[in-house]
Amino acid sequence: MIISVIAAALPLLFGIKNFESALLLTSSVILSVFFFELVFLISCKFRAPIKSALSGFTISSCVLIAISLTGDLLWSDVWHETAPFFPLAFAGAFSLIRITAMGTAPLVSRSRIWAGFVLPVLVFGLWSEAGAQTFPGGPLWLSGFVGLVLAQIIFYNIRLKQSIKLCWVLGGIYLVLFLITRGLLGFLPPSLAQGMPLLVFALLFVFDGFLKRGPTGGTVVYDDRPMGGTDFYLYSGIWVGVIQLSSPAEVGWINGTLVSLLAAFLLPLLAAINERLELLDIPEKFAGLPAFLISGGILLLGLFGLLHGAF
């Protein structure tokens, strides 16, 4: 709790350069701390091991502090560029707590959690940057989406059958998220509305805990049951929120809806390619991840080319 309070206060201390930004960030952090506590209480209700819950809580607090400090370094002039990454950090922290507190260790290994959280960030960053460099002025969100879906398929080991089932649910969630956040932009300042996806998904996350516990056992991270993919939705939803809201003025209703559906459709598309690649007799050095990334890159070239002309 003390660590959380310090984490909440840090941005305010360092944020005197820009009071409005500091206020917004602090309110976001306090909000997240509130949810941390709520999640902690829920995990206790489900008789999760207190020790593991506490360790999860500490880890997520440390993540929060690190992110806050990093954000502060980049803060003064580029608030709109750094702010969207804060909900992402919170989302990762939430998931860490949930997974640790609910004792789902057989389901997901610790290293896998970190891989699922940290590596998609890197993939997203690299692909976004590559996209920006490749097509200046092109739709930046596209490379982010392709990177996100590649990372999801790689790190969550999503199969085509699962992805087809997930696609509809995911498309619906993306759409709802987009409509909520886009609606909020009508009467809230954009920088404040950026925090709303966090709220929506934190609520989903909490209520999911009430409805059904995550599956236990098994070697596959997320099986066919949609309820087993809470963290998957959490990451994905926050990602979409981050990407869409990073430039809210440029995303209209129709474009946003199309983007939401396209992002969901990319999942089965790339999952099918991944499964096809497994059947091919690819040279050993390029089998697996390299061939998949090359395929993603070629697809991105095609999508970029078409959408660059369309937008």
Binding site: T134, P268, A272, R276, S295, I298, L299, G302, G305, G309
Partner: protein, 277 residues
């Protein structure tokens, strides 16, 4: 044990009939069909076109030799011809080398060689060229004169007649292009580029779906997107991007329209198998 578990076997009912065709026939056939339009284009465009084709073909074969000790050059020559025809007349040696490297090494050999690539190598090569050389709006090496159109139709029909290309892909590609041309009013049936796409690129057996329903979907939307986006992009760009995206959907289409065929009655009766009705 691990090697056993990694084995990928395909189970199928005997007897296994041979089509009577060799792989060499499959590889040289499309090149033969493309040869008249290639020759016409090279003769019409002058010595520069010859040089670009020679450089593209030589580098493509060279990359294949470097990559694979046991090589078959027919497919590399076919891809070089396609690349040359799709390149603008302002193309230089850098474009020839980069295009053939991307097509042969990245889009084909890294995926396991001929018959295993997900994306059409010539399209991938052109997409990379568009990225590195974005201002390529000059006329193509491909000739769209009446004689060129006749050669394209003749080559395409020859491929279909010999069953080296699927008729439904060519037909539905052009139908899709016609549907997509309504907003812009573009010409479909005597466009050399669209005919090249319909008969020689979209109908590639490796990068098109296995099932007929899948092929129809693939070809129709390939043609439709090509024409739809030709309003904002130049025509060769829209063809390349649209077909690349449709290539990416092929595994999904194959999964969506699964093969439901059973052994034919005559085959089953011949070998004395019980017939499931």
């Amino acid at each position: 044990m691990s090697s056993l578990t990694n084995l990928k076997l395909t189970a199928a009912n005997a007897p296994h009939l041979h089509s009577g065709r060799s792989s060499a026939e499959w590889l040289w056939g499309p090149l033969l069909a493309l040869f008249p339009i290639l020759l016409l284009s090279l003769m019409s465009r002058g010595s520069d076109a010859f040089l670009i084709f020679l450089l593209t073909a030589a580098s493509a074969v060279g990359f294949e030799v470097l990559f694979k000790p046991r090589f078959k050059i027919a497919n590399s020559l076919f891809l070089s011809a396609l690349l040359t025809l799709l390149m603008p007349q302002t193309a230089d040696w850098r474009m020839a080398l980069l295009g053939s490297f991307t097509a042969i090494v990245i889009a084909r050999e890294l995926f396991g060689g001929v018959g295993q690539n997900i994306f059409h190598p010539a399209l991938a090569g052109m997409a990379v060229l568009f990225y590195f050389f974005p201002q390529t709006t000059a006329p193509l090496f491909l000739v769209s004169s009446p004689l060129g159109i006749i050669f394209l139709y003749a080559g395409g029909l020859f491929l279909i007649f010999k069953k080296w290309a699927r008729w439904e892909i060519a037909l539905f590609f052009l139908t899709g292009a016609l549907a997509g041309s309504f907003p812009s009013g573009g010409n479909v049936f005597n466009s050399g580029l669209l005919l090249l796409g319909a008969f020689f690129i979209a109908s590639d057996t490796t990068t098109s779906p296995v099932t007929k329903e899948g092929r129809i979907f693939f070809a129709f939307f390939g043609g439709f997107l090509t024409m739809l986006w030709s309003v904002t992009l130049n025509s060769v760009e829209s063809l390349v991007y649209a077909l690349l995206i449709m290539n990416a959907t092929v595994p999904l289409l194959d999964s969506a329209f699964r093969l439901r065929r059973r052994p034919s009655t005559t085959t089953a009766q011949r070998v004395g198998l019980p017939i499931n009705k």
